[in-house]
Amino acid sequence: MFSEIRFTLNGEQKIYTGDPLRRLIDVLRDDYGLTGSKEGCGEGECGACSIIKDGKLVTSCIIPVAGVNGCELLTIEGIRDTEKGKCIIDAYAEGGAVQCGFCIPGMVMATYVLLNNNPDPSEEEIRVGISGNICRCTGYDLIVECIALAAKKGAALWQK
């Protein structure tokens, strides 16, 4: 009773023919093996499952796969080997942003969107940028500092 669902996933064209009401996070993790996106709350509140849909940050646990028909998706796997992705990940490592690590893929995705839109954010703008990402180790200050570090070290990448 439904048509195929077509979308681009990390640059590759995908045609999905399963149940269109499955949650996008389940399809990403179970069908495509992209286990970088984590499930925390399952209610779109914690940000651990954040991915980028048509350039915008979304939580993949509250979107049915049918909701990305015709869209371009980027997951942490799609950015980790890019210049920008490496810039963020290196800054997180250098500044010690990572404690248990569970929230980090989502934090990196939020950072990627933030710096793409605002290459030189203030501390307040950084905090707003990750306001939908919960870190239960509560290590926010180091994450905020590392995002500022990524903005500074990668200035040439983000200023475009």
């Binding site: 389940d26 049915p64 939020a110």
Partner: protein
Amino acid sequence: MAEVKCFVPQTLQEALEIRKQYHAIPLAGGSDLMVAGSMGAGVTPKFAGDVVVITNLPELKGIRELDDGSVEIGACTTSAEIAASELVHPLVRDAASRMGAIALRNSATIGGNIGNASPKGDMPQPLILLDAEVVLRSADGERRMLVDEYIIATKKTALRDDELIVSVVIPKQSFTHIFYRKIGMRRANAISKLTLSAAATVKDGVVVDFRASSGAAGPKVARCRKAEEILIGKKISELNTCKEEFLDAWNGVISPHAMPEYRRNTTRRLLTHFIDALAAGHPEGRVE
């Protein structure tokens, strides 16, 4: 239970035919329905019937100004898009910008927020203050009604089972003073404990228009035109003396259930703040 069918139409016309034939539940952003039906990790959420996914229908997206100066917002326009649009009234942008956090605002839609009819939904509150209308379409025609009439009570709306909300129309409105507050547990990512919009027009020292609407304070967003009329026509020098009568009348719009003392007291303080600003000759614009 019969297996739930899911339809993914490519056009609005197809979606309307599906609504007519199967009465499938419309799913816009998914941020309410996917959570309400959640069965946990790895399991498809449960729905009460067939589902029609309208998230990406191009006819339901976008914001445009109409010839009469009103602004039409497509039902599947997201909160983030509304918050960013200079065409949209600032009170509606305020409400959109305070919903959830960034990712949620990129999924949640205005049509979904109205259609879900949660008393804690953020969009209906300023829309009802502004006398906004929903445009409802079926395969057989179109009708319009005030958002205030469309939402009947908690989770109850006037939507027929063959219709879709296609857009929201906000009439051209201008006020000299506006005020918006959302009270939640945190600055971001909070469900409203209470919201309030207020708007007034003061001309030559006289209040010629005054409106307020309370969200999350009862089974639906509440406006009290009888209370509003107490202030309309008054000189700002008279506001101090008629304020108490207005505030007492407004108490009646706050539901007696669920911490009425807290909601009434907080609402009184917010309204007092706004009225005092008017009485003090606050310059035109937003009252903080």
